[in-house]
Amino acid sequence: MILLAIILIAAASLALIAVSRTNRQMNTVCIAEAALFLAIAVWLLLSGQVPISSFVIGSQYFFIDHLGLFEVLISTIIFLLAAIYARGYVEGLIETHELGKGSLKLFYGAWAFLLTVILLAFFSDNLALFWIFAELTTVISAMLVAILYARDNIDAAIKYIFIASVSMLFSFVGLVFLFETSRSVSGEGTLNWTVLIQQAHLFPTGMMIAAFALVFIGFAAKSGIFPFHTWLPEAHARAPSAVSAILSGVLLNVGIYGIIRVFAIVHQTPAVTTLSPLLLVFGLLTVGIAALSMLPQKNLKKLIAFSSVENMGILLIGLAIATPLALFWVLFHIMAHAFTKASLFFSAGILHRQYHSTLSTDAVDDIRDVFRLQPLAAWGVILGGLAIIGMPLFPVFFSKLFILLQLGSVSLPALIILLFLLFITAVSLGYYVISTFTQVSRPETRDDIVAYDTPLGMKVPVIILLILMVFLGTVFTVGEITFLDRIVAELMF
Amino acid sequence: MTFSFIFYLIINTVAVLAIAPLFMSIIKKVKAWTQGRRGPSVFQTYFNLAKLLKKEVIYSSHSSWIMRVTPLVNIAAILVAALFVPLVFVPEPVGGIGNIILLLYLLALAKFFMALAGLDAGSSFGGMGSSREMSISAIIEPTTIIVFAALVFVFKTLNVFEMFITSAATGTPATPTLILLAISLFIILIVETSRIPVDNPETHLELTMIHEGMVLEQSGSNLALMELSSAVKLTLLMALIINLIVPFGLATSLTLGTIVVAAVMFALKGTILAGIIGLFESSMSKMRFFRLPSLFAMAFFFSTLIIIIEVFA
């Protein structure tokens, strides 16, 4: 039923987009779609029926559990805000001829479709089905990246598709391994996660290691883990900011979600002792390369994108620790990172509108008078930056601290290296923000820059996200904690 | 606060005020003798002070209240410091009077005001004097503190009174360590009272003067206070050396006889020490200002050596 509702809503919105003509109409459809999905997710959350076994959903390939619902909640919120944001943002893109009017339909169609696919991915029980949806998200989001009239965008999209898809193929091989393992254990092969996790303790270690390692390759590429992250900075930086927020806040989660799911299965077997160090190494390398790449970075959106890479590394490290508490904070970090990153990209988008060409090239010097011209965006970047480096009042502080605490009990050298890398990250962000935002034009040239009249729709998401972040960072509701605890329990950590 | 302590306050202040100008004159006399002159009378300093009191006070139009309060603060600080070093009679210490660190910092208080007064009028002589004075006092400070620490180390107390009591009880001759310390104390005395080879108290030559530069703008009764305070400072440092090294005759109980004896003994010992200072000054020449750090380094080395010997022995 729920599945049906989702598909119906999706179909209706696609149809509406097909018949509508203006940016506003199509955008409204997208907002409505995201709002409806969010309503469904909230209803599911409040109804207390979760986890929902397959037949209520409508097919044995789908199910809803807390982790899926958690991801869906995050995704729909970000999609909703991004859609609101896109209203003004896309208008601006059209005005400056960066986006053809003819491409509008494609843009919003892909947008609406992407949300549906992501929802279906998170509600998939069958891992192969999840894999397919994940593949589809790559393709559709690449379309959203490539839609701008610039060669660089196509280039970035191609990179994105190639690296992600090529790696995802290995993932599929891994899934085949998993399927075969399950068949050899129970006779009846399945890729349904709910079944796999029950059988997992019977799986032979060697096969599990192979399966996980291969699956990891693909999902690592989706979530921007070193050395598969290379597409990420370029795609995120080139995409329209509304899309960047989705890429960073939602699509990276798809990859991490896949890793978590499969890792939960691995966690039931002795293979986890072999695989945890592997994850730790990849995580550290990811954070390391991201941190060092951020230092000389002169492009704001690339900087934020590298910060995403860094946070994915942290998530991987948290996962490698493989304790329930660590998993708890990994989940928390997923949420914290998604919202923070979305707010950062939204603010960066406003700056992008203001300083137009300059942000896309590597010239810092043209950003000036930020506080006079775009105070909200400036504060958005500052507060978002403080949030992402783990300042208190923002949620990343706690997740970072507790992941570090857990890491400390696993490996001291890793802890020290990670702390140092996080320091470098913070410095790079701080260095960039301080050196750019303190630039003011001389009084005589002050009037050369005309302030971009930021539409309300682009401001509201930033403010909402900032409030949401402060709320998440200071108030821990009982519901939130039990919800996350349920996820940990369902993943059988 | 006992009667004997109040009595001590009075008697010590009176004694130090009375005898300080005398020692100044004696040093001058000795120096004159070594130069083959007859020199001024030993009471010349008293005459000078009396004369200055009769003169009018001249303030620079640029100067501020600093100039006006400095002489008072200066003499007050030095006189209080003098209370920390009993000349003839050592009572029981009250409320930390006699603390050796406080003594040092009371001298610093006087110096601080004096240096500011030097800067107050905007004259370059005053500025130069202040600058040099503060520099010198800064770099002699480690030596001073090490010597004081050595004293504390030897006498196991922070209080000058108790040191005197101990040394009076042990009697003369003092231990070898104390004699070594006395040499260091002597160097400190030379530096602190601005004497040759560090400073030349008798000249107003721009190249050599330090202390005199600072008081150049002072006049009349203010100048008298400044002169007097530097004499008192000399006396109290001399008393420190005398009563530590050759404490015989020092009164520890309050009877007329002991006090008279102590006073006479102190005057005698003081005269001898003043003579030594005069001779020492005559045998030296003023040192170039920037050669001083090496002199101080030697003094510092010397006093640290004492500490090391004392510690390891």
Partner: protein
């Protein structure tokens, strides 16, 4: 009652954050005054509360919020915390009073509202650091403090030096965070809990101590981590500099003391390390202060010196504790803590009055000032009190705390190890050098800023500042005098026996001597007074250019310590001919070399930037290369699977 008072004060501060935040867009004085009024009220409540706790010695602890079983957001106020609360309350109250007027003379329009709000946040986070009952809330508020102070430093973001200051401050703050976090994580590894409870002796706790020590040292501005101070303090508005220097540095001291007392069982070498750091900072700090001509940077360096003194006291405490000499240990610790309070008083006083001076003369360069004693009599008197206190002259408070440290130094006779004894004596000598140099430094400061003739047009036209900019510093000055003169009585009042001289008696004697002398002169000496020009060897009139400048004043010390001050000479010449014979024009510049900056900070920064550049080449922009990475990784993983797993 105490708890309610405490919550009340927190709420008042919170109100002080909200008011300007809500009214951020409206540039009206009333909102700012309201916000700062909240600060003052909150500080008064907090001050009363901490005094009560300090006197009664009760311990209050309560948990406000426990989201997980593992940790809670809890507060606990004991005497140590109350002491630092008092410090925070006293300084922030006076600073806020001063700022009500000062802030109206700042540029920035409605941004000033945010400044007020952020200041309140800063104060609130500092006081919550102090009352934190466990390491997580400690870290939480510590970070909040770092973040809010960073925003405050960046207030005048358009200023020429602010960018550099901001970057330095931000980097050092993060560096400090790194170590504090590491320390807390290691501690958690050792004890398995977040409580501030004894951790026992092990490799982990030693490592945790070292990490925390470095973290706190960075925040406290201990050399060689001090470089942010002389940049951040001049860049920020004066009330903020006062708060940062007087209070924030003390929070780091608090952290160190708290962890040393409650968590660690210190070993001898820890004490030696702290002592060494402290002494080095004290000496080098004041030596650099002497060469500084920016009045606020000079005060910043002097803060480094004073924190060095505090660390010296803490180091002595640790040494004596490890020798089981509790009496001496407590004197040293009391000295360190008392000096923290005293430094907070006189340094905020100095920063505030320096702020007034800068406000009046529009320059921070002391060579441009002079003669202000006639134009700003009250400010000069207040600054003078601060200078007397910081130069550790009796009977003011700076001396009262330094003498405690001197006493414990002098009593180190009792330490058994001869080698250590000698080491202590050497530290003592350096310590004495420090206090003498600081006297020289403040003679120079007061002399160049306030005395003689004005050296620039602006300082010639300076005016006395309004009443409220005098009132705040006046309270602090009074505190400086009271804390000094009645130091011994205060110790008795709180029930501590300390062998320190009675400064009240000394003060009385000083007064008596001065009065007696005055009376004597009044009756005997001539009362004629004449005003005349300064005698200048016959020059017709006194010119400002003839005065001794700040540079000139410190020249002898400059030469004496030439090994510490490295100068850098730049000499660029142009010639008319090829053979460099006919000189055309040229520039020469002799500047003080910033040794730490040029030999430590910048090389590290350059090296890491270089490394980052190398790593960035990984992101070459070529799809084929990226796919090759994937290919190689896949092969590596297959190798791993086939042979290693």
């Amino acid at each position: 009652m105490i708890v309610e008072l405490f919550i009340l004060s927190i709420l008042v501060f919170f109100l002080g954050i909200l008011v300007p935040l809500v009214t951020a867009a409206r540039d009206q004085r009333v909102f700012r005054t309201a916000a700062l009024g909240c600060t003052i009220i909150g500080s008064v409540v907090l001050g009363v509360l901490s005094l009560v706790i300090l006197l009664t010695g009760q311990v209050f602890s309560w948990t406000i919020f426990q989201p997980f079983a593992a940790f809670s957001l809890g507060f606990s106020v004991d005497r140590l915390a109350a002491f630092f609360l008092l410090l925070i309350a006293a300084v922030s109250g006076c600073v806020a009073l001063y700022a009500t007027e000062y802030i109206e003379h700042l540029d920035g329009g409605s941004r000033r509202n945010l400044l007020c709000g952020c200041t309140n946040l800063f104060i609130l986070s500092m006081l919550l650091v102090v009352v934190s009952a466990n390491t997580v809330s400690f870290l939480f508020f510590w970070e909040l403090m770092a973040g809010s102070s960073f925003l405050l430093v960046m207030y005048e973001y358009t200023g020429p030096d602010t960018k550099k200051a901001g970057i330095f401050y931000f980097v050092m703050t993060q560096f400090s965070t790194l170590f504090v976090m590491l320390g807390i994580v290691l501690l958690y590894g050792q004890t398995g809990s977040f409580s501030l409870a004894p951790a026992g002796i092990s490799f982990l706790s030693t490592a945790a101590f070292l990490a925390l020590l470095i973290g706190f040292s960075i925040k406290a501005g201990i050399i060689p981590f001090h470089k942010w101070l002389p940049y951040a303090h001049p860049a920020s508005p004066s009330p903020i500099s006062a708060l940062m220097s007087a209070v924030m540095l003390k929070i780091a001291v608090y952290g160190l003391v708290r962890f040393l007392l409650d968590v660690f069982s210190p070993e001898l070498w820890w004490g030696i390390v702290i002592l060494f750091l402290g002494t080095a900072s004290a000496v080098l700090g004041i030596i650099y202060a002497l060469k500084e001509y920016d009045i606020k940077a000079m005060l910043a360096y002097s803060s480094i010196e004073n924190v060095g003194i505090i660390f010296t006291g803490i180091g002595l405490y640790v040494i004596f504790t490890s020798y089981h000499m509790p009496g001496l240990a407590s004197i040293s610790l009391l000295g360190a803590l008392f000096h923290s309070l005293n430094h907070a008083m006189f340094k905020s006083l100095l920063f505030l009055t320096a702020g007034s001076v800068v406000h009046a003369t529009h320059t921070r360069d002391i060579e441009q000032m002079g003669g202000l004693v006639h134009r700003m009599p009250y400010t000069s008197a207040l600054f003078f009190t601060g200078a007397l206190a910081i130069a550790a002259l009796p009977p003011l408070n700076g001396f009262a705390s330094e003498i405690l440290i001197f006493i414990s130094f002098f009593s180190s006779v009792a330490v058994a190890d001869p080698l250590l004894k000698v080491l202590l004596f050497i530290c003592l000598a350096l310590f004495a050098l420090t206090s003498a140099l600081s006297a020289a430094c403040f003679v120079k400061a007061f002399g160049s800023v306030f005395l003689a003739l004005p050296r620039s047009k602006e300082s010639g036209e300076a005016r006395e500042v309004p009443l409220r900019m005098l009132l705040g510093p006046a309270i602090l000055a009074a505190a400086c005098i009271i804390l000094g003169v009645f130091a011994a009585q205060i110790f008795v009042l709180v029930g501590l026996s300390v062998p320190m001289p009675d400064l009240f008696l000394v003060g009385l004697l000083l007064l008596a001597m001065a009065v007696l002398t005055y009376a004597f002169l009044f009756f005997t000496a001539s009362r004629d007074v004449r005003i005349a020009g300064t005698w200048g060897c016959g020059t017709p009139s006194q010119q400002p250019a003839m005065e001794y400048s700040g540079h000139g004043f410190s020249e002898p010390i400059d030469i004496i310590f030439s090994t510490v001050y490295r100068t850098k000479m730049k000499n660029e010449r142009k010639f008319f001919d090829r053979k460099n014979c006919i000189f055309a024009e040229g520039t020469a510049d002799i500047s003080l070399m910033k040794i730490f900056e040029e030999y430590v900070y910048l090389p590290v920064a350059r090296a890491s930037y270089h490394a980052a550049k190398v790593v960035s080449r990984f992101q070459s922009g070529c799809l084929d290369t990226y796919l090759l990475y994937v290919f190689c990784t896949v092969i590596a993983i297959i190798i791993y699977l086939g042979w290693l797993a």
